[in-house]
Chain length 345, copies 4
């Protein structure tokens, strides 16, 4: 950690900073310049993270040199984590192809969609039972009834399933029915929820918040990891931008950026990132080209009747086309779409 | 609602759109231009909000003319809402002065701070018992023990109290101890939590999310209002920006913008908006000048020992100075800082 | 164009709007709802663009249905434009590979770099003679001397050359020495400069401004096109974002978004978009996967001695590796890197 | 300056960094931690600004401790600069009230508007003769004819005048006719233009770019100052934000932030910051409350006939009202609106 003092910091102030650092069992190295004094601190930086040194008179800036996350960092683990989602591997060259409708709307419709996406190459089935809707008057999801349908259809097709949980009181129930629990963008910093899903030990799909930095995302992953649950898959799904041309701004550079900082797999969600069916296929390819460990796409057979987010869903035939392109691109990159459990690649 | 068709939409597509609109019991007015056809829809727009018209082939854009919030809108109520927080009025010319430490750290320290801010003119005491920390290794708050201390110190000084709740399972407990429940920026779209605090009937301080639009904020207020709880105070506390010069970007224009859309009171929080003690006083004044119904400021008597957010806290003497300036400015604007319950202005 | 009136607009106000519309030779279609009145306008929308209807009392919103650019739009031209840059085709499946140092620093060094990038597959040589530096004390470029060197080295290797112009007074000189003129991000809305480069008739590389929307970029292209110069290549090079993890936010979705709106070629510049050598290769691939018509990358043989932007330059061997990957990806997508003039693919 | 090395930097790499630092005549202080090594550099940091140390193998981060601007900094001058604009003082407690139409549309109309704003308290008359329009088809301004009108009407009312220049070739002409030259937001990083206006010696109104950080703005001011022209007034006019509720995001905190970094006066422009007449008065007051040295507001007597930006103009009577409120607020803050030349306060 580096402490930069203000231009006119007094000797007493500098001395006080040094004493605070040493009182924590750390060493302080002073560099006195003509304009400013800098204090380099050597020792366990974690002790300093919890001490508000910046509030000390005369201190201008406190710059950490260690990231605040530990378990999520490449320093903690050099090899990439491979998360096993009900028999489907995600990470380390194995691509997740998560597909399905925004909301579960009934067994028959989900069955139709699951049949189509499985045939196209999807390996994890998604569907929302609890929907985070900006309007209290919008469709809120089928609840536990939906979870049962998702489990049944997943089992019928031999596909692992993932669904979102929004409430700490529902985590246990969702964990019971599914192979992977999704924490949505709006709850990425719902720290109670992160702690709770961490305690289930189930694989977690952690979506990046709309205004979360890469560091924020890794800190939220750290919450889950610190509960003893190492099965975390990150997901870039677009951040807030100033251009109304797309719903969100797809931050594709976050994929290789995170690969350099963390061993955790990261997938992309071009459906939410762009909000436009015409942009989903090119952005899905872009994500895989940038190194993503999978792609999350919403698919619906009758978008104009969908209970939620119909306008951004791909049709099954559109999904089949992009899935084939992703498969080709994966081979070019020396990767592969993970086979379903019991199926050999 | 206005439906704009794509430049080359076919007659069948246009006809299909008209049929969908009429099947909902609404009227469709067609304007056929040389380049595009537009459909104006007359009737209860709410029926359309839940229908994914944009997913229909040939539709380019669907533009609502009614806001999606109802209870929060000026159309629902012309006069400004005045929220009563334990006897302190907020809104309609009555300013809230919410002050206190970021985290409750013990009864003695809270007592010292409460004494100081009350003397300076604060009328609601704040303090966190459950802290939303980006790091799982950071101080997480005193929990229920902290709530008891907050209640005791508030009662001792005759000040209503406000604290944040983060978990649906703690809402009842927090409501029991406090006069106002805060929903923090990171939970602004935690819809389960919004529903739960709505059901308590307690006044709610709803902070704007870091990437929430004004419309998003009002939709989250609508969640609370739709549970039958009209006691909502909004809070602008800075949004994400690109300039590292300040912690967040203080969106002061959101204050008059919201005044034009909603009857709910809105206060400002320059502490979180700027993250810098030197910017808090000018931004507090700016907020009041722009029409805010109050100011939320973190105050600590020993920032360098604070358990949380010490570097952004004002010292009691700094708070006293800005509180006096706010009082003068309020008078210039024909407003006043609300007196404490039992005290006459 | 659609004019939405305010909820309580009076009959006189509505009448006044209709009269203004009709006075321009256009038709007004009224849709009176219970809540709001909407006026659909039929006729030449351009007449309305220059009339401040929104300033009329009672008008809430004016929504254009036609884009404000014409020559740049897919409506004006269905087939993709292919720009010829000194014999190298850009667009329509032909990829530009623009490479070279940030600044021209001397003939010998440029020769070394040109030799390397040509061998790797680059087809256009870049180098700055006039540098837009944020600091007046930083290296400002070699000026005309640099232009001569660029021309000489380009000729020696049979490569067309591109360089940036910043000042209307230098446009003629730059056009004389180069095959393509670059307008940098900071000058994307320097309308005098756009007009001037439009008048040269030379191919223009128009970089997207850091806070420019897709529509802003196309409007700036329209400035050039409206001067009778159809040879415009757009360039996505990152926009301002809130995350300090990368220098800018690489908006890869802008590539397919623009492909849907305009016939102009668009390339990507991952060097400026990310500012980090480790992120340039994955983002270059992502751009091509998303449909870009080329890639602009800064290359330097001795980054630590570079006069400008050394830290973000790729080494020649790094460039060779990514260029080979781009070539493979292009083939997968049914495209190809354009051969140099006189060379057959 | 502080150089942070990568976690696994080798001894050779560290040694190489130290040698580079020392070869520039500076001292390097090494702090070797268990995780990282830090090099504190003592001496003239300017030498390092032009050396790409970050490109050296093993270097993770280079952190300057001195701002890159010098002449603009509070270190260069402690007392606030007071700029004299044709006899009107701006800065140091003296407020500029710049008002007038967006574009000059003729002598008669400008005379009417000038009469009104002067009566209301404005002390500098504005009007655009060269308009930076996003569309090449929009009204581009009256050119030199407009400059003459502006000068004449200013003289008639005894008001200094300000207008925007966009092209280096017009700087001399604009300087001849006006008391203050405006550099618009879109040209804030048009470094050729900055250099040129710097050489005129005329007061410059430098507007903040839509994606410019506070540091970027001060660096652009430095360009002007470094030409020997100390008469720079900065202007906050809103930056790009994600919320379509307002045209731009009014960054009111930039005002006190800049006051802490620079001696230059800074005013606010709520017209462009918000783009909405109803938000201009509250944001004007907010700006002054935050410490601004003046307010720039567009006023038009017939907004619905304005050639440019009519919808965001205040009517003269609206301007008179907010000007009176600003005057009252200024007094509360111990400031005053500057009197016109020859008039005593």
């Amino acid at each position: 950690m580096i402490i930069i003092l203000k231009p006119h910091a007094t000797d007493e102030q500098i001395q006080h900073v040094v004493e605070r650092v040493e009182s924590l069992g750390l060493q302080a190295h002073l560099s006195r310049g003509s304009y400013r004094t800098i204090v380099g601190v050597i020792g366990d930086e974690a002790k300093l993270h919890v001490t508000p040194l910046k509030a000390i008179a005369g201190v201008a800036e406190v710059i950490p040199v260690l990231p605040a996350y530990k378990l999520a960092s490449v320093e903690a683990q050099r090899e990439p984590t491979i998360v096993d989602v009900g028999g489907v591997q995600v990470g380390g060259g194995h691509l997740a192809m998560i597909a399905g409708p925004c909301a579960i709307e009934g067994a028959e419709r989900l069955d139709i969609i699951a049949t189509a996406v499985k045939k196209a190459g999807a390996n994890i089935l998604r569907g929302g039972a609890f929907k985070p809707r900006t309007s209290p008057y919008a469709y809120q999801g089928m609840g536990e009834e939906g979870l049962k349908i998702l489990r049944d259809i997943g089992d019928k097709h031999g596909m692992p399933v993932v669904t979102e949980v929004m409430d700490t009181r529902r985590v246990e129930m969702v964990a019971e029915y599914t192979d992977m629990i999704q924490v949505g963008a709006r709850n990425m910093q719902n720290f109670s929820l992160l702690t709770e899903v961490g305690q289930t030990g189930r694989p977690v799909l952690l979506k990046r918040g709309m205004s979360a930095t890469v560091q924020d995302l890794l800190m939220s992953a750290e919450y889950i990891l610190s509960q003893g649950n190492p099965h975390v898959v990150l997901c870039e799904r677009g951040v807030k931008g100033f251009d109304p041309a797309t719903r969100n701004l797809f931050d594709v550079a976050a994929v290789p950026c995170i690969k350099g900082l963390s061993h955790l797999p990261i997938i992309v969600d071009p459906s939410h990132a762009t909000g436009r069916p015409d942009l989903i296929p090119p952005c899905a390819l872009a994500g895989v080209a940038a190194g993503a460990d999978g792609v999350h796409i919403e698919v619906h057979n009758q978008p104009e009747d969908a209970m939620s987010d119909g306008p951004q869903a791909l049709l099954p035939e559109q999904y089949a086309k992009i899935a084939a392109q992703i498969s080709d691109l994966a081979k070019l990159l020396g990767k592969e779409i993970s086979p379903l459990p019991g199926v050999h690649a």
